[in-house]
Amino acid sequence: MSGITNWFEYVGDRWSDVWGASWDHLMLVIQVMIVATVLSVAVGVAVRNNATLRNIALGVAGILITIPSLALFTIFIPIVGLGFKPAFIALLLYAILPILRNTITGLREVDPNVLESARGMGLNGTQRLIRVQLPLAWPVILAGIRVSTLITTGFAAIATLVAGPGLGIFIKDGLRRLGLPLSMESVWTGTIFTILLALALDLVLSTIGRFTTSRGVR
């Protein structure tokens, strides 16, 4: 019991730090997700009809997530320096695969008869993409965005290693002072607020999904 009380006290005493780190964390994730979504959907659309290009795109995105995270966060430092930028790039590269894969799957799962009738009525390629394929693929794409957002929110805690923003700072501090008073409280603060952030983002995305998915495909 006293552990939990202590933790609340700990957070209460540092509320403005916690709030600030959470906000920075959130901003980092949101920016990564916006760029990752635009990029992945664009690539997915571009490669959807060509098996070779599809496999290349998915292969590259797959390789990216197998790069050890510590390495991925550090290899860009020589090019872009410390801070927000290397963190942003590393998270972006991780965020791509789930969205890209779901974009490709979603677009390819569209019933060929629906596309046949769309073409038969005289919708050109762009009109078919925008009016038919993307709206039908959207629930699948959004599922990819949600997975990717959860992963990114968690991984963003590592940003602190490259002097990036976010809740990782509490975890790093705790680790550094392990065994000393309040070290575990610090680790818990970073962990719990990261999880809360992830859940909040997921809730927002599922609400967006409800309002942007046609009743006909729900």
Partner: protein, 398 residues
């Protein structure tokens, strides 16, 4: 016989071929075909003979390898296919409604592409839904998944008619629907077509559907070669070769009777008598006639009983209680097929033709039907012999 002789055809395929990449034999080989304005032309043939390919060549879903397609007098082989398709309704078996759009939005697809005003689109959607038998207030805001198969196909037809195209292409539109609903949709379609008078190319592999829907039928063999192209009754009466004969199957004579109506028959006299006449008079009438049965009528000339010689021995009972009741009755617009069916159930082997009030107009005997069949055959044969030397027996303009 050929309407294309007098007016310009709506669609003309001019030696059109299609060879799919990597295929040795063409899916369509040098097909020439005229489709007249306002006619329903059915393409029918075994699976894989190239029906769908032929249909999709018309709206350029598939590009021809060779040949020209003339649409409404204009060579459309080189025009923008999207603009062409907006002028041609297209219905496929799997329908392909847009699942994320309401029925109204689905039906409004082509009008929107053409930039119609909102009010006009809304009115058009309601008109179309009404036309295909979907109450607009009920179905307008539904989604495709909330429709039955039959309703979805009606919606597909409404959508194809969206911007009032002159031409409809239909690829086995009723193929995936249960027989009862299919029959109803076919009938509704025929009623609709009698008002709309669209030019329709209709693909099916069901010869009975072809006979029912087509003003003319093209029976295709592999590579879309026309085996025979003619009105259904001509094909039934005179299949040009074994392929056609096999394809239309057994019972083609019976099927041919569906195209003829009782009112066009010449009925020969039949012995008949009022119910209140005496037995002696009845026997005299029967003896004078070549037939074996006598028809007893009531005061309004409505047929009552079939009576034969031995029945008349029962002099203790009035004529109206003798013999067998008359069940086989048909109205003048009944088909000969229905009439034959009625005759087969009749004691006397005859069907009575009655008017609206039930009064007798005449009696159909089996000889009348065999005469019709003989005449149909002779006419069809003559039709092909007349054409001999000028054009193919398929009726294809050369």
């Amino acid at each position: 016989m050929n309407q294309s002789d007098t007016t310009e055809p709506m669609i003309r395929l001019d030696r059109v071929s299609k060879v799919y990449p990597g295929q040795s034999s063409p899916a369509v080989a040098e097909l020439s075909l005229d489709i007249a304005r306002g006619e329903v032309l059915v393409l029918v043939g075994p699976s894989g003979c190239g029906k769908s390919t032929t249909l999709r060549l018309i709206n350029r879903m598939i590009e021809p390898s060779n040949g020209r397609i003339i649409f409404d007098g204009e060579d459309v082989t080189g025009v923008n296919p999207d603009l062409l398709r907006r002028r041609i309704g297209y219905v496929i078996q799997q329908i392909g409604l847009f699942p994320h759009m309401t029925i109204a939005d689905n039906v409004a697809t082509v009008p929107r592409l053409l930039g119609w005003k909102k009010d006009k689109i809304r009115a058009r959607v309601d008109e179309l839904l009404d036309m295909v038998g979907l109450e607009p207030n009920v179905y307008r805001d539904r989604y495709p998944k909330e429709l039955s198969g039959g309703q979805a196909q009606r919606c597909g037809v409404a959508r194809a008619l969206g911007a009032d195209p002159e031409v409809l292409l239909m690829d086995e539109p009723f193929g995936a629907i249960d027989p009862i609903t299919r029959d109803r949709l076919q009938n509704e379609f025929l009623r609709l077509q009698s008002e709309l008078k669209k030019t329709i190319v209709f693909v099916t592999h069901d010869i009975d559907e072809a006979m029912k829907m087509g003003d003319r039928i093209a029976i295709l063999k592999e590579s879309s070669q026309i085996a025979q192209l003619d009105k259904p009754e001509h094909i039934l009466a005179y299949p040009v070769d074994d392929f056609v004969d096999d394809f239309i199957g057994s019972g083609s004579t019976l099927k041919g009777l569906s195209f003829e109506r009782v009112r066009d028959l010449e009925l020969s006299p039949y012995p008949m008598i009022r119910h209140n006449a005496g037995h002696a008079q009845a026997r005299r009438v029967l003896d004078e006639a070549p037939q074996r049965w006598l028809l007893v009528l009531d005061d309004m000339d409505r047929p009552l009983r079939w009576v034969n010689d031995s029945h008349l021995d029962r002099t203790d009972r009035p004529l109206r209680d003798l013999g067998h009741p008359v069940r086989a009755k048909v109205e003048p617009n009944a088909t000969l097929h229905d009439t034959l069916e009625a005759m087969l159930t009749s004691m006397a082997g005859c069907a009575c033709v009655i008017d609206k009030r039930g009064s007798l107009q005449g009696v159909v005997e089996i000889e009348a039907l065999t005469d019709v069949i003989r005449r149909l055959r002779a006419n069809a044969r003559k039709h092909y012999e007349d054409e001999n030397g000028q054009s193919q027996p398929t009726g294809t303009p050369s």
